[in-house]
């Protein structure tokens, strides 16, 4: 079910403003790809263009191609709603549905796809997804309680469970640990390690140690200059990026001599 993603000549706009320019990239299946770079360089924007979440902002649009398993995501015949059902997303801050119980949060995506769900099947999905998100043991006795009652780290894992409940092909994570304490961060990182056997994962992070810990490949984004669009500087195996990167700019950023 995991798929690779081919991005070619992708330009991303906010209205007339070109935010990200000319990205070419192949994201391998069943592995973790980290996107790093300074704030405002367009890595989150790029991530959101992979599941067509970018265009929910008024005026936002994309030029170029994103191909998942031979299917072009931006083909006019493709419904963005279908794309988002196949490519799950986890956000910077945990966002469980506030009025829903833990169980209903996990099932929310499934109920959109397939209105009628037998109770036994629903129970299976809830257990499998929460197991998958390493949350089952902590919440199995209070599935009917509101999702908002959990701690921040648990809420984020609940959001991951919600995303994997629909068995997407790809999981996008936009700084999933930036609002979490170190213990929760470590729990989510362990989870990412387990998830990559089944899913293609793309993660945006500001934390370079995190990129080094969790990813197989790393892509470094940077602004071409003040007021210029962001672009992909270099993409290589994570080991190489953090030891002998091809580009000087990458080395400067990674070693903290940025500017």
């Amino acid at each position: 079910m995991a798929k690779s993603i081919d991005v070619s000549d992708l330009n991303i706009y906010y209205g007339d403003f070109l935010a990200v320019e000319g990205v070419n990239m192949t994201i391998p299946a069943r592995s973790v790809t980290a996107l790093i770079g300074p704030s405002g360089c367009g890595k989150s924007t790029f991530l959101r263009s992979l599941n067509r979440m970018h265009e929910v902002i008024p005026g936002a649009r994309v030029e170029g191609k994103v191909v998942v398993d031979g299917q072009s995501m931006y083909d006019p015949a493709v419904d963005p709603v279908e794309v988002r059902r196949q490519i799950g997303m986890v956000f910077q801050r945990p966002n469980p549905f506030p009025t829903m119980s833990i169980r209903d949060n996990v099932l929310a995506g499934l109920r959109l796809n397939n209105k009628k769900l037998k109770k036994a099947d629903a129970d299976d999905v809830v257990e499998r997804s929460l197991q998958g998100a390493n949350l089952w043991n902590e919440v199995k006795d209070r599935l009917g309680k509101p999702g908002m009652g959990l701690s921040g780290g648990q809420q984020q894992r609940l959001c991951i469970a919600r995303a994997i409940a629909v068995q997407p092909q790809v999981l996008l994570m936009d700084e999933p640990c930036s609002a979490l304490d170190p213990i929760s961060t470590s729990a989510v990182e362990d989870l990412i390690h387990e998830l990559k056997t089944d899913y293609t994962i793309v993660i945006v992070t500001h934390n370079m140690q995190q990129a080094a810990r969790v990813s197989e490949d790393t892509a470094f984004f940077n602004l071409a200059g003040a007021g210029k669009p962001g672009r992909l500087v270099e993409m290589n195996p994570t080991k190489k990026i953090f030891s002998v990167p091809d580009q000087e700019a990458t080395e400067a950023y990674i070693s903290g001599r940025f500017g």
């Binding site: 979440m53 929910v56 988002r84 997303m89 956000f91 506030p98 929310a108 995303a163 629909v166």
Partner: protein, 311 residues
Amino acid sequence: MSTTAPKTRSPRRRLGDLVFSGTTSGAALIILLALAGVAIFLTAKGVPALKATGDDLSGAKNIVSYTAPLVFGTLWAALLALLIATPLSIGVALAVSHYAPRRIATVLGYLIDLLAAVPSVVYGLWGSLFLAPRLVPSYSWLGDHAHWLPLFSDNSSATGRTIFTAAIVLAIMVLPIITAISREIFAQTPRLNEEAALALGATRWEMVRLSVFPYARSGIVSAVMLGLGRAMGETMAVAMVLSASGVVTFDLNSSTNPSTIAANIALKFADATGLRVNALIFTGLVLFVITFVVNFIARAIVSRADRRLAA
């Protein structure tokens, strides 16, 4: 180097603080006094009506049988108005906050607010001279073909000035209130919640159901309750539109219609003397109490919904 503890001194009252707290508490107190004044006046002047009979009560036996049909008419007209206005308002509010392109949404928002600025006499004129005659054919058709339903009478109105016409006019009058409040609340839905739904593959409508409505639920309730208050208290438009005969009936198209408390007061007050005035004031007291109760219920619903969200 030794650290010095911050000097402790009795908190000095600054002049600005004193003036400000004085004016705000004064303003709050005036509201309470005004409310108490109204309540005392209505009670003092209304109680003598308990003794009123026959002649002073347009033929009703006592004050209860005089007031009851009016209470029914008030609630029935307001309920009908809300049944029409609530879905419409929520639809308009959603269109403005989530569907229409921004420029159209802004214009639409202004137009809706403008509806609130139209004086109720104008609505009354429009309802009685324009809307009512145009509804006559529908009413008579319903009278001919649907009078077996409890909502329609075979004695349909020849003027069209029925309780339903009044309810339509009321609906248009409460529409801007409900729309304006719902719109504000819909627009405040956290972006994060909306994106949570969209990223799961929700369509726009599913996103609204998953994120916007749960967030806005208590706000919608209070908006509707405010609308209900307005609909129950509205006087001129109903007095002008409705051809009332003080009956108790659910018929929407009948030539005999229940009256409402406010409209009844407006129509009869000018010619009333003695105990008739007290009777009208007594009905006013009843309306005052009903409005109060409605508001309390609304508060209770809202705070319960908020508590559940917080839990």
